[in-house]
Amino acid sequence: MKRPIPLWMCVLSLILSPAGNSNSAPHVQEIRNEAGFMTIEPVSFYFHYGSYFSRLDLRSSEARMFYSFQAADRNPKDKPLFVFFNGGPASATSSGLMSMYTGRFTLDNRIESGGGEGYISNPVPWTRLGNLLYIDAREAGFSYNIMTRVTEELARWQEFNAQNYNPLFDAADYIRVILRFLARHPVLRSNRVVIVGESYGGDRATCMLHLLLNYAGYGGGREMFQDPSLSREIQEHFEAVFPGYLGRTVPPEVITRQFGHQILIQPSVPWGYREELTEEMLRRPGSELYRIGTEVGIPFRPDAYADRSEFLQAAGRDPYIYVKPDGWLNGFFGNAGRLLRTVSNLVRVTGADVTRLAEFYAAARTQAYRLADPDIFGQDEANVPAAVRVLFLDPAAREAAETLVEPGDMTAVFGLLQPWDRYFLGNNGNALWAFHVFNVAMKRGYEAHPADIRYGRMFLKNLVSVETFVTNAAYDLVVYSKAFAPSLARYWEIVDSARISKDPVGGESRPGRVLVTYKANAFPDIPAVGTRTIRFPLYDKSCHAVSLTQPVELFLDVAEWLRQRGFVID
């Protein structure tokens, strides 16, 4: 029997803005908070290395991507759109950046990890800077996929593969959601878009911007990843925003008038070289690992541990913030995930009446799935690097087990889901597996692993025309900031040098820049690049999630950085 909707929800639904849903929603002229699911239809795309007939064809499943929009405090029509996402890949944004000092409500960082029963008002909401759009990745957070034969476990296993999970298609998902959101909000359609990615979100931002800036090559056979329908959708968008380019490819210098800024919070990019250098640097005497070893009485011996994750686990320290006990940051993510499963919290945090979203109700998701195996997270982990296991797969496995019975009241409000479905997953272990361990694109030799060095090259090419802000968190050993500049310098075929400058500019509280000097012929299609600057402020008390541990400092730095680039900050 369906339970009646509680009175408080009815009241909230009257005072809050309507929630958006489905792709057929009419154009929205009023800019108000909303939440919804953006449907991404099955998409045919392929990988190749220059041979059309020997390509790897893939076709995705339908996705319903959850998004939440918070309108700017003042003049939203004139404000930029900040697009937020976390990383993983396949980790939720709802329990990440949306819950950590960016929106109007936030988890309280004064309560230690895992504590607290609700969200508080955020003293530094980014709605002062602009409009905020949070997007949960495919199968992460509240997003879910649709498939036929959903009752067959084998068919569900087949879903967790490259056709749904690879870095470039993941980025394509986000572009589709953003462009469709903008198309549905004509008053925002031409506004500047600032991409805000955390952790793997840095790789995703890299892929997104490269797809956007070079979109013709992603539909015309030049790039490794080919998604012709995305290329057409991008062309349509830019024709609407830049009417002078009707029927012509829009060049990057024009595209960056809209997509010309990225804020990357502890970005994993360039993952491959950064990971190599991180291990190398942390194994040098005097590194943080030696200091931790001395503190906890377990001396660090490089030959005794496969990687830093193993040692930190032995030392009982959190790799995301090494001055805290193991699991500290995941405690916050877990807490947010638990709280958001209570509908009133989700309504409060999103500022939208999510009970109006048909896609939430069990009746609308009979073909939905989140996990291959509803009972256990049944993937063999012995063949997996320790870091991937410790950072991603283990937390996902714990979460899958803990949510066999959904916490919160979503079951009561929206109905009982199929065993393989979930209302929320902070980390989707099966999707993580497909990204990190096994997918056919990766196994067929395509650079479809997030750590492939291709993505660093793409980051460096984006950097030529995209203004970039990257955080430098002192306590983060997952994305080790000290390895950032050296890992860019490893791209010796592109870069002459990448060095850190700590010279203060204009009275900055937290100075810091990375100066990247390019080789003369770094990119065949771009004449003499010269030097580009990445803003790189130090957050001396911060964990991986900088917005959680030093929210005010981050907010002020971002506001100042945007002001310097001509953004109007009220």
Binding site: S51, Y52, D57, W157, N161, D380, F438
Partner: protein
């Protein structure tokens, strides 16, 4: 089975025509100009055929290209993975493979009119067919650490190359008597040729993964690819022949011929089905150069195709020629009246 039946029918047809010709020769009244081989008849009708080694090197290069792609995408990739420790070992099970068109059996007919004792003119047609249809499969197995094994198999049913040409030839023949009843002849003939070609395959691809905790098909796909083309070109024959009369109105002959038969401008349709996605196109056949640059190596290849998608980075490096040219040995029957 289909191929065998077609070959049998063709042979039966030839034998039937042979005996019909003999029968017809017996029923016709004797010519006032004398017996066969003695230049006593004005008209001749000839049937001929025989094995030929057609050029078709450009068309056959599709097989080389497909073989190289397979080598690059599997053998070289797996070698690279093994060297980097990604896999323990790999193996390929492939009992047979793609085959080229190596032989054709042109058949022809011509009417001749003797304009003088030594010179005749002719009008005829010659059909050439080169076709190679093979069913084959391969299966690559790679062993990974911890007893995981991936098997990728592709089955072609069939893999087909086919090229046809119909030449309409006008010729001039010069003959002379040789030893006893034998006649020697030299001839030249030329005319237009109408050709078509077809490259197609039906395939099934399966990726099976097996390990201590899993055993399932990771992916499975069926597909179809075909590229077709038609065009018109020039054909010319230059040959010599020896003829021997077996009856008053019937002779047999042997010819050694060099046939030039080239079609340069070929256009046609293409169609590809992969899974549930179908793509169709139409274009001119030309040679495409591909550079495949993958992390484990680089491969350059040229192959003919009629697929030139809009906005594609590649452009034709040169024209494609459907070339049946080559030497041919023929045997024929000549009916005089």
């Amino acid at each position: 089975m289909q191929a065998k039946r077609t070959g049998f029918c063709r042979l039966s047809g030839i034998i039937t025509v042979f005996f019909l010709a003999i029968g017809l020769a017996r029923t016709l009244p004797a010519s006032p100009l004398g017996s066969a081989g003695e230049g006593s008849h004005r008209f001749q009708f000839e049937l001929f055929g025989g094995p030929a080694q057609p050029g078709l090197s450009a068309f056959n290069s599709l097989v080389d290209y497909d073989n190289r792609i397979q080598d690059f995408s599997y053998d070289r990739l797996f070698d690279s993975l093994r060297q980097r420790g990604g896999i323990i070992s790999w193996a390929n099970n492939q009992p047979s493979g793609r085959k080229k068109i190596a032989l054709s059996f042109p058949l022809g007919m011509r009417f001749r009119y003797r304009v003088s004792r030594r010179v005749s003119v002719s009008l005829g047609a010659r059909a050439s067919l080169g076709r190679r249809e093979t069913d084959f499969s391969f299966e690559y197995t790679r062993r990974e650490p911890l007893d995981y094994e991936d098997r990728e198999s592709v089955r072609y049913f069939p893999y087909l190359l086919s090229a046809r040409g119909l030449a309409v030839l006008a010729g001039v023949h010069y003959n002379m008597s040789a030893y006893r009843k034998l006649t020697l002849e030299a001839f030249l003939a030329a005319g237009p040729v109408f050709s078509d070609c077809r490259y197609s395959s039906d395939w099934e691809y399966v990726w099976h993964r097996q390990g201590p905790d899993i055993d399932f098909d990771v992916s499975r796909m069926t597909g179809h690819l075909e590229e077709m083309g038609k065009g018109t070109g020039i054909a010319a024959d230059a040959g010599a022949r020896i003829q021997y009369p077996v009856m008053k109105r019937l002779a047999i002959f042997l010819e050694g011929v060099y046939s030039y038969q080239v079609v340069k401008k070929i256009r046609g349709k293409g169609r590809e089905i992969r899974g549930d996605v179908e793509t169709t196109w139409e274009g001119r056949w030309a040679i495409k150069k591909e550079t495949i640059a993958a992390p484990w190596g680089t491969m350059e290849a040229e192959f003919p195709t009629n697929y030139w998608p809009e906005g594609s980075a590649s452009s034709p490096v040169r024209d494609f020629r459907l070339d049946f040219s080559g030497f041919q040995a023929r045997i024929g029957l000549c009916l005089l009246f």
